[in-house]
Structures are given as structure tokens and as C-alpha cells.
């Protein structure tokens, strides 16, 4: 049995001039918010920027976003049949869309 979530996603590279985008995402109960974001990339818009590597294990800790104003891991938050507002972390520097600068300063590449 498939249900549908509405993901309202923040897009842009400048915190002051972004936009909200809405996508209806079909899901099976139990699926994660990250599953929904990956579905959008494959089926609607491959330019949507998100970061993750482990997909499901909550091991890489890369997929942190704000869901309805609360910081969550997209891989452990479940999709629900309602509007879900997803924004980049507001306390980190914005990179693009849902991607923020989360690496510790000593691990960022800066040239020579």
C-alpha cells in the first residue's frame, strides 16, 4: 500500500535568495526522509543537492537537515503522509540546497 508525503524543500546557494519547492513523494510505510529525497533526485530533479554516504545505517552522519525546524538525520526520520518542510542546517554555512559545511575546519581543503 503506497502513501504520499509532500516534501517542501529549500533550494538555493544564498540564504537570502532561496526558494521553496514542493514535491509529492510516494512511499511505503517505514521509509526514510532520505529515501524520499533520493526519489526526488531520480524521478523529478537530479540537480537537488543533498549529502549522504551510508544511506541507511546512520553511520556517516552526513545527512543532517532541519525537518520542520528541528535538526534530524534524514536517514532515520520516517516519511509521513503530510507536509514535511526540509531546510539546510541554519547554524552551518550554506553550500547548496540542503548541503551545509559540516566538516570540521581542519578537514576542509583550502589549497596549498
Amino acid at each position: 500500500m503506497s502513501e504520499s508525503a509532500t516534501l517542501i524543500i529549500w533550494r538555493g546557494t544564498d540564504p537570502k535568495s532561496g526558494r521553496w519547492e514542493s514535491h509529492a513523494v510516494p512511499f511505503e510505510p517505514g521509509q526514510s526522509v532520505l529515501d524520499g529525497l533520493r526519489w526526488i533526485r531520480t524521478n523529478r530533479d537530479p540537480t537537488l543537492a543533498i549529502r549522504f554516504s551510508c544511506i541507511n545505517a546512520n553511520a556517516c552522519k552526513e545527512c543532517m537537515v532541519e525537518l520542520d525546524g528541528k535538526t534530524v538525520y534524514a536517514c532515520t526520520e520516517r516519511l509521513a503522509a503530510r507536509e514535511m518542510k526540509i531546510a539546510p542546517l541554519s547554524n552551518k554555512k550554506l553550500v547548496r540546497d540542503l548541503v551545509t559545511e559540516i566538516a570540521p575546519p581542519g578537514e576542509r581543503f583550502g589549497g596549498r
Binding site: G30, R41, L48, I55, A57, N58, C60, K61, R112
Partner: protein
Amino acid sequence: MPVEPMHAETDVLVIGSGAAGMYAAIEAARSGAQVLLADRSLIGRGGATVMAQMTVAVALGAETPDHWSHHYDDTLKAGRGLCDQSLARLLCEEGPACIRAMDEWGVGWARKDGHIAQAMAPGHDRPRCAYVDFLNTGPAVSKTLRTVVNKIGAIRRAGDLCVVDLSRDGGDIVGAAALHLGSGAPVAIGAKATVIATGGLTRLYRRNSASANMGGDGYALALRAGAALTDMEFVQFFPIGHLAPRLIGMDPIMWDPFRYKLGGRLLNNRGEEFTQSYGVVEDGKYVITRDTGSYAILKEVEAGRGSPHGGVYLSFQHVPEAELRAAFGPVIDRLARNGIDLTRMPVEVAPIAHYHMGGIAVDDAMRTGLPGLFAAGEAVGGANGANRLSGNAVTEALVFGRRAGQSAAAHAKRISKVGRAANAGEALALIAADAGPRDLNTAAMLQTLQSTMQDDVGPLRSAGKLTRALARFYDVTQELGALPPGGAGGAFDMRRLEWLDLRNMLLVARAVTQAALARQETRGAQQREDYPRTSPEWAVNQFVNLRDDKIELSRNAAPAEAAAS
């Protein structure tokens, strides 16, 4: 808008920061080299290591008397006659030293009566597998190495740096060209020695147990630079990957430690144990090896005796709740939050792509055929032959990482000045190229590749399926074109990154499929339905080279022998 390339220079460039890459960086720095540790994601959090929830095989002799030669015998047996014996020997002989080093660095191996606990695992002749409770082996290994790396000033860490091509000066490797994801800028890296520690290729499959950054990058880098790959046809499927009910926050290989500790029963949809029909009597114990397990499960499904989601059942219903709690307390609670009560229900499991036995061909100093280029960890091919013994992956990462770091540092010491990269301009131009607005859905193309590999280049293979896969890869390669799509540009341009990933993944997919097609027999992880027998004349390793964008296969007379043993 053209982006100016950035530059970096180092003695040793290590690509990838799983256990192999981090150990290589540590050892190279200890040998006096300046190191640049690059990873396409965060440092020390991606790759396969952090996902390894299971065990580490090593002949410590802590649980029962043991010697590396027994571990070696089991490794060769599991490899079905194809192990590179010098690599297998290195893995087994130096494993204990690396495991003890990790112990001193505070990894926290589980203890029993004061000694490091060692569990029994399939394919081993005695209890040999160390672990960190609960299901925490990989994360603990990653964290421990990360902490050591962070304390060494000679190691510069560079996350979000995706290496796109190696740089050549004649036949020598002199660094690499990379895409800095954080800015979108191309980066020219000069290095006296380079270590590929990018892991395997499980991302090529729709159902896999590793990170999204395990797309065979290192194999493609090595191939295009002129190095040889070996045993590419041997992809290990982990037989009991979690299938249903949907579980979040857990890795799909989590049932392995459950089976180590508690046995468990594999059942078909009639509620019957079935492994005995495939020659393995389990009787509540975990003895079935990975190649046989995957085969048995897929054959049950094919015969209509599978579970609703297309796997089989794994049941612990016969295990008392107190025993479950004692073995996996906190995990039992996480399962409960996912609606799973093991005392009342079985779970569904099915084979998932887990590990790649094949990889870059190296000698026992981790040298490739190209001066200046080394490899470590899962990126190396040969040590595990046609089927990897359980528990050998983390051991191999540590041992080969350490050896590669030493070799790379020694090589760098002999070179006074970094060579001039003859081909870097080409790679830097590709990274920044803009083919204009093309309506290219790279995410969907990636999914097509993964489905093709899963369906046609999975554990059960035939000439028909493999040929169909090659035709599909040809089509996707044509669609991909010669240059990345334009558009977003700048930081985290996902289509550009995926275009570069597809360039690698399609090349590696072709290498796996062509090697699988050429091997007209069934052996270990390669199950050919049209050639169901193991053929003595195929007791050889295949090698892959790239010439004029064509995959060339060759083979040796027999697997590499160990030096006098």
C-alpha cells in the same frame, strides 16, 4: 564562468579515508613523509569500514591456540584455489600486529575473561574473529584511526575532494586531478607517491551494504592510468542482507553478528530449513559460507519457496528472550522501535552486494605496475581469490594500509622533486568542462546501471544475461557523452559529480561483466548457470587492462605462489 584550478603538493597522496587509507596515512607519516589524505566525503566516516558491524579475523590465539598458518589455510580454502598466496599470507601473518596496535590505540575489542574475545565464523577452523560490541566494530575502528590521524601534524586532511584522474609523467604516477566539491574548483595535486584506498564497487548494485561512495573509483583511476586489475568477476554477495520489514538506522548486514552469536535458522516459505538441500547442514549453527548461502537462497526463491519480498526467512524465535538481550541488548531496543520482535517473528533476508574480491593488481609491497602508484584495502585484488573468508576485510584494510603507507613513503624518499604531470591539463579541463544545458538525468542513469548489474551481473550469471548487460552499458555510455552537463556549476553540482561517477562506474561495470563472461565456469562468487561446474583449467586469475578505451583480458598460468613458506 571558468574556475581557476587550485594546487596542492605533497610527498604521499592517499585517496580514500576508510581503515586502509587512514592506516596508510599514519604509517607514511611515521616514516617521515608529508601526507595529503583526501576523501570525496568526510574524513574517516565514509567507505565500507564504518559500516562493518561484524568481525575481524585474526590468529591471535586468545580464545584457543592458533597460528597465522591456520588462518592462511582457511583463507586459501575459501578462495577456491585463486588466492594470490603472497597477499593472503601477508594478511594472515601481519593481522595480529595490526589488531594489537588497534587495541593499544583504544579500539575496545570485546573481552572475555580478560582476553580479546574471538567468535566462531563460517569457514574458520576455530574461533578467530574479534569484534566490538554491540555491532560497533566498524565505527570503533574508524573512530580510533581518525583520532590517531588527527594527532599527526604531517597528515593534512582534505574532505569533499573527489579524485577524477591520476597524473602521469611518462610511466610514473605523479599525483592526481580532483574536483573540490565544496567550491566546484578543479585541483591539481602533485605527489611523489599515490595510494589508492577507495574501497570496492558495491555501489554498482541496486541492493548493497556499503556507502554511496563505493563506486569503484579507484579501479577506474588505475585502469585509465595504465595499471592492471585482477579477479574483477568476483563480487561477494552477502547472503543474509536485511530485506523486510523496512528498518532504519541499521546496516543491512547486521544479521551476521546475530548469527555468529546465536545461530538462527534460515527458513523458506514453508517454514522448512533448506540449506541441507544445498549440501550444508546448519542445525541451528552458522556454518554456511557466503557463496553457497547466496546460491541456496536465490535458488529457493526461484523455486517459488521465497518470502513475500523475494528472499527467505531468518528466525531467532527459538532463542529465549533473555539470551537475545544478553547478546544484543541495545540492538533489541532499536529493533523494537522498528516494530521487530525477534521472539515473535522472523525477518526477511536476501543476498546483497557486499565486497569485491577483485581489484588493483599489486605485489606484496602494495606496488602496482606503475612507479609511484600503490593500493591498499579492498581496492587491492587477489588476496581473497574467488570468495572472501568472513572477517578478512578489516584485517586486510589494516595490514595492506600499513604496508602501502611504508612503501609509498619509501618511494617518496627516493624522489627529489615531484614529476611534471603531462596529462593533468586534460583532466582539469574535463572537471571544469561545460557541455551546455543538456537534459541529462544522471540520477536515473545511475539507477539503470545499478539495476542492470543487480539483475544481469549478480550472483547467478549466464552468457545471455552478461551480454545483455554489456549492450545496456554501451547505451548508457553513449547517452553520457564526452563532457559533463552544464547548468548549476560551483559547489555540489550533483549532476557534474554523478557524470564523473558514471564515467568510472560504467568502465568498472564493463570490466566486471567482460571478466565474468570470459570465465566459463562456476567458482566461488561466480555462479554461471550455463557452466555450472568448476573447471580445473580455470584455476587461473584474469587480468584487465585498458587499451584505446577497450577492456583487454589476459590470464596467468596459475595463481601467484607464496615465497618459500
